[in-house]
Amino acid sequence: MADRAFKITPRLGAGAAGLLVALVLLALGGVLARAEFGTGLRPAEWAAIRFTVLQAALSALLSVGLAIPVARALARRRFRGRAILVTLLGAPFILPVIVAVFGLIAVFGRSGWINGALGAVGLPEVSIYGFHGVVLAHVFFNLPLVTRLLLQGWQGIPSEQFRLAAQLRLTPRAVFLTLERPMLRQTAPGALALVFVICLTSFAVALTLGGGPRATTVELAIYQAFQFDFDLGRAALLTLVQLVLAGGTALLAMRFVPELAVGGGLDRPLRRWDAQGGLVRLLDGVLIALGAGFLLLPLISVVLRGVSGLSQMPASVYLATGNSLMVAGLSVTLTLALALPMAGWIASRSRGGVEAVGLLGLAASPLMIGTGWFILINPVISPSALALPVTAIVNAMMALPFAVRVLVPPMRNLLERFLPLTQTLGMQGWPLWRWVILPRLRPQIGFAAGLSGALSMGDLGVIALFADPERVTLPLQMYRLMGAYRMDAAAGAALLLLVLSLGVFWVCDKGGRWGAEA
């Protein structure tokens, strides 16, 4: 039908996208307004760019490369606990960075479980620190996310094709070549781009596990420019590099970015007739066990480490919990307020390229955004008065690309099915959202809300310039406990944070699906 005539929320959607671009560009402008222009990039910064691109590319390749066999195994096996495992796939991604790093170190560190086991049988120690450590951590964060993306791809292969494959008695290899490889060609490039962009802005993970200044990323160089050299021009220049790298990659790969997995469909494997051989079953079992172990062991260590610290947590931690929940609630509201109209706008366009705009928020250095806005806002109003809205906005910007990604495909589907009917009924504006879009997109809205809520729960409040001393969030309180030598109490707070983040995610995700109609 004549889609050019009928668009959902074109003004609001374009407005939301425009707002996002404006937020980033105005911040950049704010920084540039105060910058003195000096020299171009120095050799150390070129080295940082090289390192950043290299680690991000390798992390993306490995995350996707390893996720393929794991997702494949998960797609063709059913077993007890599969549903829980699929849910937990979201956990590493929404974990606060520092908690995840300590979880990884408890397993892979010098005195971690693996080295403990190796030492017990007389084998030499393996070190997590170095380039491979950075990649390992990034794979830990992103492999589960990619597995979920790819699982969605497998789910998208029509079951008739597997029936045909069974009829023709295709071997697993032949099934891969005829059915799975074409699907991967569609989904893998987008997943690669997404992980690449996520890893571009890494800082603390890269430095801590990278073992030293060799592992200097662009984000660390930006931090240095702001706080060590106070060279705003250089900070802005480096931010531009980051945006160009991320934006270029995103634009290039955006049309391939696959749908994020939502809903019960994932929990129900397709009926498969291939890959029934004993060896293949064993291999799949090993792959799933390895994947689950890689995912679960660090999480278990966070839990074990935290349990003993729970009793040592001061009451203020619970107060901070309330603040964090409030920030999360506000971020979720804001994310949806931006993502829904954007998704409506994008879905009623024939090309989805504008979705790349959403990635801007993910690629822009939060420190630069914070500083830019501080420069702009400070002459007008006290920044700490805006602590809550600014924190919520920055969190929403981070979550937006995922939310849009989740919402666009079902929105497109819905418009295809029901746009003519809504048109003849004269449904527009709020009634259209109230009676058709919101109820039909409930599972995806729930998933997007959960992701954004959990992401903002774990945010350390990078926008220190806007910090409101009266309103301490849970991650900041955890960090303060660490800063005050109270590592056990901090581990307790980390556990609380893990439970709450997963709880927020679970409640939103479940709430979206609860009572939802087919």
Binding site: I105, R110, Q227, F230, F374, I375, A464, R480, Y485, M487
Partner: protein, 325 residues
């Protein structure tokens, strides 16, 4: 207060009137946390000043200075507390600080002669380790040993920068040789002190860069005497934390009163067991029990504040080169 804060002040006019004028003090985050000195100092000062002392905490000392530079003369702050000797030159260069007449009977290993900044506490950087460890006696011995250490990145952390200056102050042009020796001892470099100390407590390294006063925390707060600081015979670099009054303050008298208060016994007696540093002036009751167990370096190292900027950039380049190999 600046007129910008006036709007906020009028909204809480009744309380503000009841509490008198407001003094805004910028400081680093851990100072204001409930385990830091902030709460006790605020209560004690408000009891005698008939004012409202408002601590605004943000990041660390470097973040403080960056914020001040961004705000310039319009800053709401009356006093900035938490810069250290490495940042003094850069802070003075902004021209935002006013000279002070506050003097006290400082018990620092050096003579304090700064016209602008007032020291409130200080410490020696040191490598902290488990008490049972046979610790090396200097950087050379550390470099030759198999011991593993965790340090902080000088670009993002005050202790990290302190270590850079320490090696430079002790070895001058030979600093690169020392860093070459240390390169294979360094497990990793972290963003801040908390991550490094956390890694050390998790058993990731034998020693961590911290302060000679760190064992005091474990001893006094946790009754745990298992941590020691290694004494290095080339001397230990000092960190002296200071506060200063902003030239643009409209609470000049109150700011002076607060600076005076920070070196008075009421504040000085709070600092050792909240900030876990040596007080700049010995409190009437002496140092808390437990501090006498701490190692005391025979030689205190400090690069004069004015020389820091030039040395800092050179030392950073050497550090990056040595550790990037």
């Amino acid at each position: 207060m600046k007129y910008l804060a006036f709007a906020a002040a009028t909204m809480t006019a009744t309380t503000a009137l009841a509490e008198g004028p407001e003094l805004v003090v910028y400081t680093y985050d851990s100072f204001v946390s409930e385990w830091g000195p902030g709460p006790a100092i605020e209560a004690a000062f408000e009891a005698e000043c008939a004012c409202d002392l408002n601590f605004v905490g943000m990041g660390d000392g470097a973040a403080l200075l960056a914020r001040l530079r961004l705000e310039g003369a319009r800053s709401d702050a009356d006093v900035v507390l938490g810069l250290d000797t490495s940042l003094i030159a850069a802070a003075k260069e902004t021209g935002l600080f006013a000279p002070t007449a506050v003097r006290a009977d400082y018990r620092l290993p050096i003579t304090w002669e700064d016209e602008v900044f007032v020291p409130y506490d200080w410490g020696y950087f040191a490598f902290v380790h488990d008490a049972g460890l046979e610790a090396p006696a200097n950087f050379k011995a550390l470099g030759e040993s198999d011991l593993k250490i965790v340090i902080q990145d000088p670009r993002s952390s005050t202790p990290g920068l302190g270590l850079l200056m320490w090696v430079k102050a002790a070895y001058g042009d030979d600093a690169p040789v020392i860093w070459d020796g240390l390169a294979d001892n360094i497990v990793t470099v972290t963003k801040g002190w908390s991550e490094a100390y956390g890694l050390f407590l998790e058993g990731e390294a034998d020693m961590v860069l911290s302060y000679t006063t760190s064992p005091a925390y474990h001893l006094i707060a946790e009754e745990d005497d298992s941590k020691s600081a290694a004494l290095f015979d080339e001397g230990h670099y000092m960190q002296i934390e200071v506060l200063g009054k902003l030239a643009g303050t409209d609470q000049g008298a109150l700011a002076d009163q607060f600076m005076e208060f920070m070196v008075s016994d009421a504040a000085q007696s709070v600092l050792p067991t909240t900030n876990w540093m040596y007080p700049a002036v010995i409190p009437d009751a002496g140092l808390p029990k437990g501090f006498e167990t701490l190692v005391v370096p025979e030689k205190a190292l400090l690069v004069p504040a004015a020389d820091v900027p030039a040395i800092r950039d050179e030392a950073l380049a050497e550090w990056l080169t040595a550790l990037s190999r």
